[in-house]
């Protein structure tokens, strides 16, 4: 379990969070939504430990984040924030294998299991045909999928995805939805996705947290999202329908006039 306790953060003299408290339980996919600047990405950065709040703490397995060794933390938390890999000469397979780094000893080779996990996610994300291509030659969508697969391959306890649908085509989004479901299926892992794609969150997440002005405006199942909430927090008029398969909400913008 991961818990944020009384987090307060001011970034460039702008208050982002004031005494924010949240907890995420294992076995769930949690969607973080909110208008731009609400602090969705910042929240994920605080959980990874790359941004330090002015007060409050993040508890991972009951212990404050800094109490965990760097490698142990890397084994427990993996993130995908759209950062481009820095070395375009690596092949996709080589790059994905690096996600297993926290699981191997320094200077030792990767295990057969490491290679097997990489192969599994190459298939899960439809990257098999690109496995031996260099990163520098990939399209934006394929590079994005490689970044997402990299986060999954670490097999962390906590998976953090920042704007995961950005730059993905529909089949890639479907692949990621399946991978997310499989990831949390056994009930021991947590996935947190911060996104502007309300339909993705509504269809994929078990829980939706709406951030606004540095505070939690709504913490409920996605079914609770309706046109009035979208109008209030996103300043957009939408038509809300229900997915005929699962009954979850779908949001439609009105045609521009």
């Amino acid at each position: 379990m991961i818990e944020l306790r009384d987090i307060s953060l001011t970034f460039r003299d702008v208050p982002v969070f004031a005494s924010l408290s949240l907890s995420f339980d294992a076995g769930s996919i949690c969607g973080i939504i909110g208008p731009s600047g609400a602090g969705k990405s910042m929240l994920l950065n605080i959980i990874t430990g790359s941004v330090h709040p002015q007060s409050g703490q993040v508890l991972l397995g009951g212990l404050p984040l800094p109490a965990h060794a760097t490698r142990a933390r890397a084994r427990a938390i993996a993130a995908c924030n759209g950062a481009r890999p820095g070395n375009p000469h690596d092949t996709v397979r080589e790059f994905l294998l690096l996600a297993r780094m926290p699981h191997k000893k320094f200077l030792s080779p990767f295990s057969d299991y490491d290679y097997q996990v990489v192969d599994d996610y190459l298939d899960a994300f439809g990257l098999r045909d690109f496995a031996n291509e260099t990163l520098g030659g990939l399209s934006g969508c394929t590079l994005r999928k490689a970044g997402l697969a990299h986060a999954f391959i670490g097999e962390p306890d906590v998976l953090l995805l920042d704007d995961p649908t950005s730059g993905l085509d529909m089949s890639s989004i479907a692949q990621m939805q399946r991978a997310l479901s499989r990831f949390t299926m056994r009930g021991k892992r947590i996935a947190v996705a911060a996104s502007n794609d309300l339909n993705f969150i509504a269809q994929t997440a078990d829980r939706a947290i709406l951030l606004s002005r540095g505070a939690v405006a709504l913490d409920a199942t996605p079914e609770a999202l309706d046109a009035a909430i979208i109008k209030k927090y996103f300043n957009a008029d939408v038509l809300v329908s229900r997915n005929i398969y699962n009954g979850k909400p779908e949001f439609h913008l009105f045609p521009a006039t």
Partner: protein, 300 residues
């Protein structure tokens, strides 16, 4: 996706060719060009240092250009020139000052400024130009300027009379040790080249890892410039990334050794000035070819 030319050459055949050509050139230099064996061995060690520094085992972030392109050779040579002109001509003094200049340059551009590959090439061009202006100035205005001595710094240890068996053996042993370490640590080194996000996601402190990486690279690069001057491989590195790892390393090292041996052989026929000029042209042409044919890597 960028279309690729499908290379049909088998990696095994390419390995055999690289090893055969380099062995033939080494034999030619010793038996026909009558180069001292210690000089040839020192050149081989220099080529191995070059491969370690420029990412043959691990594909470093700097693999887009040789030390001529990145300006490291210019920094080393500037330090060595100042030492020769102002302080001492002892090889150890030249090596230490050159290495200090190169390390400072590398840390400034690679750590403090954190330049990308393309920006590093711009810095290299600036460093090379400053060195050229400096050389031009002292060559015209300093009557005591030793032209041969200056050229010997560019041409590496081969032009110096102090090459003995023991330094060549020591440098060879160190180069093999560094190569072995770089092969074992290739995954960790590659992780460091992917930037802060992935490095810390892999469980390493990025700042420390990058600092260590640059220091090790600077040490290998300094040894390479000391031993082979500016004659380090403008060709060879980064053989087709889809080939098996072991084949790639052998091909890269074999072709780099062969390239330096060709220039060493050329040095027996034409003046060192021309050999160094050829090395600069080849390195620059290779850098331009990478940009022209492969396009700018996505992260430049």
């Amino acid at each position: 996706m960028t279309p690729k030319i499908d290379r049909k050459v088998s990696p095994t055949a390419a390995c055999a060719a690289a090893m055969a050509v380099s062995a033939a050139l080494i034999a030619t230099n010793i038996f026909f060009a009558h180069h001292d064996a210690a000089t040839v061995i020192a050149c081989i060690a220099g080529s191995v240092f070059y491969c370690v520094a420029y990412g043959a085992p691990s594909v470093g972030a700097q693999s887009g250009g040789s030390y001529i392109i990145t300006g490291e050779a210019a920094a080393w040579t500037a330090g060595a020139l100042m030492t020769v002109m102002l302080f001492a001509t002892a090889p150890a003094a030249i090596f230490i000052t050159g290495a200090a200049f190169l390390m400072l340059y590398l840390l400034y551009t690679g750590y403090y400024l954190n330049l990308a590959v393309r920006q590093q090439a711009h810095a290299g061009l600036a460093a090379g130009s400053i060195l050229a202006v400096f050389l031009f100035f002292i060559a015209f205005y300093d009557s005591s300027f030793n032209h041969e001595g200056a050229v010997s710094l560019f041409a590496g240890i081969k032009a110096r009379p102090f090459v003995r068996a023991w330094p060549a053996a020591v440098f060879s042993a160190i180069s093999c040790g560094m190569l072995a370490f770089a092969i074992f640590a290739r995954h960790e080194i590659r992780l460091a080249t992917h930037g802060r996000f992935y490095c810390e996601g892999g469980g390493f402190m990025h700042a420390r890892t990058r600092l260590l990486y640059l220091c090790a690279k600077g040490a290998a690069s300094s040894c390479a410039v000391f031993l082979i001057g500016w004659l380090g491989g403008g060709v060879g590195l980064l053989y087709d990334r889809r080939a098996p790892y072991r084949s790639r390393v052998v091909i890269d090292i074999g072709s780099t050794i062969a390239y330096t041996q060709v220039l060493l052989l050329a040095g027996a026929v034409v003046p060192d000035t021309i050999v160094v000029s050829i090395a600069i042209i080849v390195s620059s042409a290779r850098g331009m070819r990478r940009q022209a044919y492969h396009g700018a890597p996505v992260y430049d």
